[in-house]
């Protein structure tokens, strides 16, 4: 198990909190809520160690399109990068509902 922390600049406030996903095999859950300091923060708990650079790439790509000041917790059970991006996009979609 490994814990990773990332921060990104943000422009838009996030109005509410959303939860998607499940910590099942090859899947993850995302808890997204307003960030207290106007920046975006991601804390990742993952069952697979040594993939910090891959997480950085996936989150770089996600925050290239999302500029919300969100505090995001990810609890991951070995999801592939594609599944991680889909769950993050699902969270953003839920935010807009």
């Amino acid at each position: 198990m490994e814990r990773l922390e990332f921060s990104y600049p943000a422009r838009q406030p996030v109005a509410r909190r959303v939860h998607v996903g499940v910590v099942g095999s090859g899947d993850l859950e995302v808890l997204l809520e307003p960030s207290p300091d106007g920046q975006a923060h991601v804390s990742v708990n993952t069952s697979v160690e040594g993939f910090g650079a891959v997480w950085r790439h996936v989150l770089d790509r996600f925050f290239g399109r999302f500029d919300g000041a969100a505090a995001i917790e990810i609890n991951d059970s070995g999801a592939t990068p594609g599944v991680v991006l889909l769950r993050l996009e699902q969270a953003v979609e839920a935010l807009r509902e």
Binding site: M1, H19, V22, V23, G24, D27, E29, N45, S47, N75
Partner: protein, 278 residues
């Protein structure tokens, strides 16, 4: 959740299942993921914890009456019951009991999707399962306690006892119910006893259809969220005594079985046919 036509219940998450069983628009989650009541034990063993520990509690209404649903998420750690997830279920049943004792009836529903106790939390999980059993027995004196086993995990171990204690048990054909899961039986008793990979054999022994045919489940329902919600509503109007209160009847049934010559699943259906039940 908005009701879709012929929506599968099995494919829903625990959170969606709770909403599907409660009257439309009435669902309000208690101690949701942002409460972050996680297992303190799993991370110590290198396992990532889920923010709700795999149990969704929701208040709302069923058939217009106050209700509470505890739904286990089978996709997280096999729906296993740990200290936190078990305490959530026991706590919500105990609060419902307190409301009932004060004259405010609350309709309790358990959505059971679990392999039983979480082995990583061992005795703490078992202790909460005992609390769940005690709460069900206390609560069902006031109001029917309705259990749903939909699949695909099924319901095993100490939580199979919880299912048996429910006033009314609703199952789908896809669901399984048993003390030991097929893999455990194969591992402990050998493949000659049960081949866990033989789906037809496993379901003939512990599948929803067999459990219904032998009177160990009360309702057999298609995998359809609306049908299951309707059966849950109907179960609260059924005044028949809980199965585990029918002690003499089950003594009689057991007396009809020769443990040296255990009946086949088909023979058990004849021995314990529904028509013979009181």
């Amino acid at each position: 959740m908005s009701a879709r036509p012929r929506a599968s219940f099995i494919e829903l998450s625990a959170r969606e299942r709770a909403a599907a069983l409660l009257d439309a628009g009435s669902c309000r989650e208690l101690l949701g993921p942002f409460a972050r009541l996680k297992s303190p034990w799993l991370p110590l063993q290198g396992i990532v914890a889920q923010a709700d520990d795999g149990v969704v509690l929701a208040r709302g209404r069923i058939g217009g009456e106050a209700a509470v649903v505890a739904a286990i998420e089978g996709a997280y750690q096999g729906g296993s019951i740990g200290e936190v997830s078990g305490s959530k279920i026991a706590g919500v049943l105990e609060l419902a009991l307190r409301d009932c004792e004060r004259g405010r009836a609350v309709r309790p529903v358990l959505v059971l999707e679990t392999g039983g106790v979480r082995l990583q939390e061992a005795n703490l999980g078992l202790a909460t399962i005992a609390e769940i059993h005690a709460a069900i027995v206390a609560l069902r004196r006031h109001v029917p306690v309705v259990g749903v086993v939909a699949g695909p995990v099924g319901c095993f171990g100490g939580m199979a006892l919880a299912a048996a204690l429910c006033s009314r048990l609703i199952m789908t054909r896809q669901a399984r119910l048993g003390m030991n899961g097929p893999e455990v039986i194969e591992q402990e008793a050998g493949i000659a006893e049960l081949d866990a990979m033989d789906g037809a054999d496993v379901w003939s022994l512990m599948g929803g259809e067999q459990r219904y045919a032998t009177g160990l489940a009360d309702v057999l329902v298609e995998d359809n969220a609306e049908d299951i919600a309707a059966q849950v509503r109907a179960a609260f109007d059924d005044a028949a005594p809980p199965r585990t209160a029918q002690v003499e009847e089950f003594r009689r049934r057991l007396a009809g079985i020769d443990a040296q010559q255990p009946p086949s699943p088909e023979a058990l259906r004849r021995l314990w046919a529904r028509e013979r039940q009181p």
